[in-house]
């Protein structure tokens, strides 16, 4: 009888240990933009050059990011635009700014929210490093989990400053939305 109990306990402990080792793999998910996908950008509002500095704006659609990796490593969302250029003439870097987006947790998500940032000055969208729109840093104050779960973003308008001495032409740029994981 004692032997049966002993075997039962051993099997139960082994099973629990096996389950513990398997569970993280079963629960591991991904880090991605949720459907319908990453944000899309509207056209910039038209402007008529008149010799004075002017502003033009565009809007990004709301989007969401989900981190189901269970890594606790955090993540970083960076928006970056290449310098606006016609191929002959270019606008100064730092011409495209964007206030920090509003980010709220999805229903049931109680984790510490990622830190959002204004995209202006040396963090304007069209700078060498772009703008860290949101940083989920496990080392930041909070629960230390790196903002897992789903986060809903409501971006603010992008503002393009057009100087008074701009040359006419179509100014091209590539907008890259990067989700990264790293140190």
């Amino acid at each position: 009888m004692r032997r049966v109990r002993f075997v039962t306990v051993v099997v139960a402990v082994a099973g629990a240990a096996l389950l513990t080792s398997i569970s993280p793999a079963l629960g591991a998910g991904t880090l991605d933009f949720d459907p319908p996908g990453p944000p899309t950008l509207s056209d910039f509002t038209p402007v008529t050059l008149n010799g004075s500095p002017q502003l033009s704006s565009a809007t990004l659609t709301p989007f969401s990011v989900t981190d189901d990796t269970g890594s606790g490593a955090g993540w970083k969302l960076v928006f970056k635009m290449t310098q606006l250029t016609t191929g002959v003439h270019s606008l100064a870097t730092g011409s495209v700014t964007m206030p920090a987006p509003v980010v709220v947790p999805a229903s049931g998500n109680t984790a510490t929210a990622p830190i959002v940032h204004d995209c202006a000055g040396s963090s304007a969208l069209d700078t060498a490093g772009g703008c860290r729109v949101a940083v989920a840093d496990p080392a930041a104050p909070g629960d230390g989990l790196g903002s897992p779960g789903t986060w809903l973003f409501s971006p603010k308008p992008l503002v393009l400053t057009i100087p008074n001495d701009v040359f006419v032409g179509t100014y091209s740029s590539t907008f890259t939305a990067t989700l990264s994981t790293g140190p």
Binding site: L49, A73, G94, S122, A128, V166, S172, T174, F175, G182
Partner: protein, 356 residues
């Protein structure tokens, strides 16, 4: 003459710009999730690749790429460099950018592939550490991009009747690839490389270029200030990659003195400190960087101080015990009767004598 020509061109531009042209944006078709493959060498938590090896080492790793969207996508996979951006910390090259540093070490088996809706693929890539690489922390990334054009767009024509903007959108997932080459300790070393004034948007900025000349990541925070001009800008240093530099731009008040204003840069990072003062564009008035007096001089100095202090303490204790034993032995036989404890706290030396 050239100025007149430029003015004429601008006037013509203004005249031609009477008809506005709206900017157009092309949109990406989706995004993918990218996770490290099983058996890969990962950082604690498993969020990115962490490899350790000597120069000329090679590593085989894998990633799992999944298309969670409802439309098929064409993905472009490549190694990208990690650099440092002001306020951002480590940032990664965009799809299509040619890597020049660690990004060249990372070579995927497939550079471009298709993924059907809800399809998942596991793909391999290799990391080759070049010979001659010195000890330190190196950072690159494995990038999977969506919406990346197969060829660069032709330069836009300037023969338009107005001002327009054309934006191409793409998305990218990056998993960092950190390669640690052991040997010397990993120690960051931030220095001010350059200061200048520039125009950003329609305003003036003070641009301060800071570099990490060490061989380890730096993390910290500080300020760039010009007290005489009421400028005091907090700055954050998040994962400053060794061997890279970042330009921090500080808004400069209109009409403020650009020739004589003294600028102070102060950053505390990883037990070290950067202190720089000088006139913009000139030589620093005080030595650049190196550990501040109140910062104990970094990890290595701290360890040395700790070890020497510990040895001195141990030696002191040994000498104390030996000395006490020598004094105790002859007095043990005629042990005096215990005295009442004094209310006044005894000094260690007095207590030692009393016990004897």
């Amino acid at each position: 003459m050239r100025r007149a020509a430029a003015l004429a061109a601008m006037a013509l531009g203004v005249a031609l710009a009477a008809v506005p042209v709206a900017g157009a944006a092309t949109q990406p078709v989706g995004s993918v999730s990218v996770t490290p493959g099983s058996g890969s060498a990962l950082a604690p938590g498993g969020g990115y690749f962490l490899l350790s090896g000597a120069p000329n080492a090679s590593f085989e790793q894998s990633v799992t790429v999944a298309n969670n969207g409802s439309a098929p996508v064409t993905a472009v996979m490549a190694g990208v460099d990690a650099t440092t951006a002001a306020g951002t910390g480590a940032v990664y090259g965009a799809p299509g950018e040619v890597p020049r540093r660690v990004g060249t070490w990372i070579v995927p088996d497939e550079a471009r592939f298709e993924l059907a809706s809800h399809e998942t693929k596991t793909l391999r890539f290799s990391v080759h550490v070049p010979t001659g690489v010195t000890s330190g922390q190196y950072l690159g990334g494995l990038s999977v991009g969506i919406g990346v054009p197969s060829a660069p767009p032709p330069p836009a024509s300037t023969a338009t009747s107005g001002f327009g903007v054309a934006i191409t959108m793409q998305t990218q997932r990056v998993l960092a690839v950190e390669v640690d080459i052991p040997g010397a300790p990993f120690v960051p070393n931030l220095v001010v490389r350059d200061t200048r004034f520039a125009t950003a948007g329609i305003g003036r900025v003070l641009a301060v270029t800071i570099a990490n000349d060490g061989n380890g990541f730096a993390h910290g925070s500080g300020t760039i200030a010009a007290p005489s001009e009421q400028v005091n800008q907090p700055i954050a240093v998040g994962t400053f990659v060794p061997g890279t530099s970042a330009e921090y731009e500080v808004p400069w008040p209109a009409g403020a003195d650009e020739e004589h204003a003294r600028v102070d840069v102060s950053i505390d990072y990883d037990g070290r400190a950067l202190r720089w003062s000088g006139v913009v564009g000139g030589a620093p008035a005080t030595p650049t960087t190196e550990p501040a007096a109140h910062h104990s001089g970094g990890a290595r100095v701290g360890v040395v101080v700790f070890v020497v202090g510990g040895l001195a303490l141990a030696l002191g204790l040994v000498l104390l015990v030996v000395g006490r034993r020598r004094r105790i032995e002859p007095r043990r036989r005629p042990r005096p009767a215990p005295r009442r404890a004094s209310r006044r706290p005894a000094r260690p030396v007095q207590r030692s004598r009393g016990r004897g």
